[in-house]
């Protein structure tokens, strides 16, 4: 099983859209996939029309394994399942800090999913907390959507610094430009600047109203409108991600 985290310190950068579409693209008969919604806002759960059952909460998530497996639900798409989030996830950090060995907790809790899934996606909440650190340790690849602006690049560098300081493996981090608007000079320049940088994937995701509309039709864009430019971009992005994650 390969674990891919969609992560960004900033919110509203296209994390969930990427998680939903990439996991949809990853799922196939030979590569059953699971998307694990860690954001208490539950956006990816919402996109897949899935609600956690009433008894499910962060406590169960932290208990791990069987409690997790029992709460996984099938999406409407073959070979793609989802572990929904719950509002109680907002307390995950506090609960995690009280747990034993919090930074390795997540990796341990997800043992047992290995048999069933080939790809596991984390849709992470936007912040840098103990939970994030636990995600970093549990992931093979940390995929960071970046809006091509100076501020976003600064935040991305902060993340790299944090990794170095914490003794984490920076080679796990891969960025890609998200919500790119070609008509904006700054976007063009920044994308150009990173063209040869291996820390960045070459495929960018354009800013698109089609992606925004996912909230209306509540399904992956690639499932509903696979021919749209944004969907094509996700498809190419997945090809790149798949190759990267294979190396890990």
């Amino acid at each position: 099983m390969k674990t891919i985290a969609l992560y960004s310190i900033k919110g509203g950068v296209g994390k969930t859209a990427a998680a939903v579409n990439l996991s949809f693209l990853a799922a196939s008969p030979s590569t059953p996939s699971l998307i694990c919604d860690l954001d208490p806002q539950g956006a990816s759960s919402f996109y897949f029309r899935i609600k956690a059952s009433k008894k499910y909460n962060s406590e169960k998530f932290l208990k791990g394994n069987q409690k997790i497996i029992r709460n996984i639900k099938a999406t409407d798409f073959d070979h793609l399942d989802l572990l929904p989030s719950d509002m109680s996830y907002r307390n995950l950090d506090i609960e995690l800090s009280e747990a034993k060995n919090p930074k390795k907790r997540l990796a341990k809790n997800l043992e047992g999913l290995e048999e069933e899934y080939k790809y596991l996606f984390f849709d992470c909440p936007p912040n840098l907390t103990l939970l994030s650190e636990s995600v970093f340790r549990a992931s093979d690849l940390i995929l960071v959507p970046i809006i091509p602006t100076t501020l976003s690049i600064r935040t991305f560098n902060q993340l790299l610094d944090f990794f170095r300081q914490s003794g984490l493996d920076t080679s796990k981090i891969v960025g890609f430009f998200s919500m790119e608007e070609k008509r904006k000079t700054m976007h063009r320049e920044i994308v150009d600047e990173f063209r040869e940088d291996p820390v960045m994937l070459s495929q960018t995701i354009p800013y698109s109203s089609d992606v925004e509309k996912m909230g209306n039709f509540r399904a992956p864009l690639n499932a509903i409108h696979p021919k749209t430019p944004a969907a094509q971009a996700y498809s190419n992005l997945w090809d790149e991600v798949r190759k990267r994650v294979k190396g890990h």
Binding site: R49, I50, S53, I72, K73, A74, D76, D81, R218
Partner: protein, 524 residues
């Protein structure tokens, strides 16, 4: 049939459309929508003796694949690519994989026959909750026979497969399904399979060529022999079609055993019918035996193809090809001849008169048929004792060199004894007959193997005498020479064992076993 084990299957007996039957029982805000309708052709295979079914398996061709499904669980044990939709096939012709292994275990001799072909119409639906999230898939299955002329009516089913994580929501809905229960009854894969088989054209119908007659020891032997003959005749008739269609070699084999059994019993229990009538019947049966000898020989050698090939060094293995293609040609010819004979006036007339002979229930004149009216138990005891004595006398007389004719004759004696024991087995205490047969087995195996090998050697020798020189003739002769050598040395080993095995049979234990068996009969 779909086979997801987590699916719940319901049998539908009403005519209401699915969206109504299921639709009206949905929780508030839920709905069902149709996704697609598709047709799937499925062919169910089994041998004539339903050996797959007896092993708890269903063999189904679906979407260019051959599925082997465990009946009890509905689990697909294997699916192998399978092109075409043959009327029958042999397990041995499948590619080396699990399907081949499983089917060979069912039968390596019998062909798997197209048991029934159905068109399966499946409409797929989604069950959506109030968020339009799919919580389950529904499949509505209706089945029609692929043969438009068939009037078979198949039951309809629908299945509900909850999506992962939605079992709880669904079980509430299922509980709400209305009575009466018979309209909504959960059915297992096996049950669905059985209903299809029952609705399909009759097939085999628990066919078994094994004799299981319940005889009344006090009834006149005349009556019981006729019962046996009715059974053997029915076996002959059941197998005629399979012989004509050349489905597998077992049809002819069972047919011939029945002919031989009939003939043997009439001869062994001489005096139960008027000699004039039996002479005619025996001649007819003999004719049937003769007419099928060569066809059976061809079958037997073709079945031995792998065995022969493996006996030879690789360099000589292909040298047998001309030998086998000649046998194949001979088989085609003999098969054509006998198939034609089966539909000929001569054969039909014989069978009509033969059945009239069996059905004539008046006891024949005592002067012409002295034992006809005697009680079966008495006749049985006498006949078995006589046959046993023959086996023992001939066996004991067999000299140190154990000549071919001696062993051949003894084998026939044993077979006769066996036919009698099988015929009368219901008169003995339970299991006693099978115990005696077990006692005889080693001896019969020894003699059977010996004679079999002798026959093969004669056949191969005659081929050797005819092989044309030139064009691969030398290689073939070498191959046959190789086979003869092996067969000869194997046969001589069998011969050497004869005396040891015979004394294992000719002992006090056997004597006691037979005494118990027959004394019981005489006093009955």
């Amino acid at each position: 049939m779909t086979t997801a084990p987590e699916s719940l299957y319901f049998r539908v007996s009403g005519d209401d459309p699915l969206d109504q039957t299921v639709g009206r029982n949905l929780p508030e805000g839920w709905k069902i929508t149709k996704i697609s309708t598709r047709r799937e052709r499925q062919i169910f295979y089994d041998t004539f003796e339903e050996e797959a079914f007896r092993k708890g398996l269903a063999v189904v061709r679906r979407k260019a694949k051959l599925l082997v499904i465990e009946l009890d669980s509905g689990q697909i044990l294997t699916d192998a690519p399978f092109s075409g939709s043959p009327a029958s096939f042999f397990a041995a012709t499948l590619p080396e994989d699990k399907a081949r292994k499983l089917l060979l275990k069912c039968s390596d001799l019998r062909a798997f026959i197209n048991r029934c072909t159905i068109d399966h119409f499946i409409s797929s639906w989604r069950l959506l909750d109030e968020d339009d999230k799919t919580v389950a898939r529904l499949e509505y299955e209706s089945i029609r026979p692929a043969d438009k002329k068939s009037k078979a009516v198949f039951p309809r089913h629908y299945s509900i497969t909850p999506l992962k994580g939605y079992h709880k929501e669904l079980s509430q809905m299922l509980l709400a399904l209305p009575e009466p229960v018979d309209a909504y009854r959960i059915v297992s894969f096996k049950e669905r399979f059985m209903t299809i088989m029952e609705a399909a054209a009759p097939f085999g119908q628990g066919y078994s060529a094994k004799l299981h007659l319940q005889l009344d020891p006090k009834a006149p032997i005349h009556e019981n022999i006729r019962r046996l003959l009715r059974f053997t005749t029915s076996i002959m008739e059941i197998n005629e079609e399979g012989i004509r269609k050349d489905i597998d070699s077992e049809f002819l084999h069972d047919y011939r055993v029945s002919v031989r059994r009939s003939r043997s019993i009439i001869k062994l229990l001489n005096g139960a019918f008027e000699p004039e009538k039996t002479a005619w019947a025996l001649a007819g049966l003999r004719e049937l035996g003769k007419r099928t000898n060569e066809l059976r020989d061809s079958d037997v050698y073709l079945l031995r193809r792998d065995e022969y090939t493996e006996l030879l060094p690789p360099s000589l293995q292909t040298a047998l090809n001309p030998f086998f293609s000649d046998i194949e040609a001979a088989k085609r010819l003999h098969h054509k001849q006998f198939s034609r004979y089966l539909t000929s006036r001569e054969y039909l007339d014989f069978m009509t008169s033969w059945k009239a002979f069996i059905d004539a229930d008046d006891l024949p004149d005592e002067a012409l048929a002295p034992i006809a009216g005697q009680p079966t138990g008495q006749v049985a005891a006498r006949a078995i004792r006589k046959a046993l004595k023959k086996v023992l006398v001939h066996g004991r007389r067999t000299g140190q060199e154990t000549s071919d004719p001696e062993l051949h004759e003894l084998r026939i004696d044993c077979k006769k004894l066996r036919y009698l024991l099988e015929f009368f087995s219901s008169l003995f205490p339970p299991k006693a007959a099978s115990q005696v047969l077990k006692q005889m087995k080693a001896l019969q195996d020894n003699l059977g193997t010996f004679v079999d090998m002798s026959v093969q050697m004669t056949f191969l020798q005659s081929r050797l005498d005819e092989i044309p020189t030139g064009r691969g003739g030398v290689e073939e002769a070498a191959a046959i020479g190789g086979l003869l050598t092996t067969l000869y040395s194997e046969r001589e080993k069998v011969r050497e064992h004869f005396h040891e095995i015979f004394s294992g049979f000719d002992n006090e234990e056997t004597g006691k076993l037979f005494d118990e068996l027959l004394n019981g009969l005489a006093s009955a």
